[in-house]
Symmetry: C2
Subunit: 213 residues, 2 copies
């Protein structure tokens, strides 16, 4: 079966499989049935079999899954093994927190530069990478050709920046700004983390809970 | 129509409507047609009409929507006008960045306490709120009865903490940990921000883009 037809809802579950399998691996578990995995993940066993069958299936009927093999296979499906040269735009509180918080390297992301419009930040080292002024963006990209940008700037600044970055060959955005990149650049890969939207969705869920009383 | 039957995909679009309407309001736009709104948001006009009809509909045929009224109505549907006493657990890089980055107050969230297990942080003021040691959690909650917790701690610590928090009456979690709260506590409202999962999903989208070449 072609991977092209796999739905985004299946894809969005794969990182969870990857995390759970990693935990099992750390605990020394070498084999797990879809039934055991489903109890831990809050999915049905048939859902898990269906999901993994989208990519060809990894289990043997009655024997369950080899944890290490399955984790490796899910990681390869996700493309975690592919190297990705990545730059961070915006070295404010959020950008810094993300840099220090995330395990980029184990997912194949190499952070090669940080840019900020504040000249006072130029030269500051964050997580082993030196911050540069945003004016140096064009020169850097022409030489180093990064393909991914993490965007941690306000929406107002994002519109111009995204245009510059796409012109410079950026193919994927991890987008923390509220600029809807995908609407204007359908050809690039975008994963949005709209924290404000998430917080508003929480509001709704709480309200719904109150109303169900 | 009961709001209960509104699908989560409609709900997830409401914060975007709210943001767009806020921008239009700031620009002084008082009225907008579903066609204009759709062009700006990358949705079809019929999708927008359908979404808003789930809640009773706000437009007059041929006259478009009153921006301020519609924004207010969407905000009320989301419950942004409801006061929500909120505590933050985990005053590390991510917790601090979120506190300083987010406009909690305008969404009805009042941050009333910050807790961390590091005794060295006790007494430190972050965003006008004093950090307390996690041991003070029980006493604080019994007196102040907060209903929402923002969880910015590692997964390993989350399991125990979530149990304590649910026992103390917390009804909603903005969950930055990798602990799948919803699987174990189906009765509470949970909105997950799994940054690692989002980054892995970006990996997949980039890989898919490469393969489409």
């Amino acid at each position: 079966m072609s991977e092209k037809r796999v739905s985004i809802s299946v894809i969005r579950r794969l990182p969870r499989y990857y995390r759970f399998l990693g935990m099992l691996e750390e605990k020394g578990v070498s084999r797990i049935s879809s039934g055991e995995l489903s109890a831990k993940m809050g999915l049905t066993a048939s859902q898990i079999r269906q999901d993994l069958n989208c990519f060809g299936g990894f289990g043997q009927q009655g024997y369950g899954y080899n944890v290490t093999d399955l984790k490796k296979a899910v990681g390869e499906i996700l493309g975690l093994d592919m190297p990705k040269e990545t730059i961070l735009i915006g070295a404010g509180n959020l950008g810094r927190a993300i840099l220090s918080h995330m395990a980029f390297r184990e997912k194949g992301f190499a952070i090669t530069a940080i840019f900020d419009k504040d000249p006072a930040l130029a030269g500051e080292e964050i997580g082993g990478v030196v911050t540069e002024h945003i004016d140096a963006l064009e020169d850097f990209c022409k030489i180093h050709k990064p393909t991914i940008a993490i965007l941690c700037v306000p929406k107002m600044e994002s519109e111009d920046l995204v245009k510059r970055l796409v012109d410079l060959g950026i193919k994927g955005f991890w987008n923390f700004s509220h600029y809807d990149i995908g609407v204007f650049y359908p050809g690039v890969a975008v994963e949005n983390v709209h924290l404000g939207d998430s917080l508003m969705t929480l509001c709704y869920k709480i309200k719904e809970l109150d109303e169900a009383k």
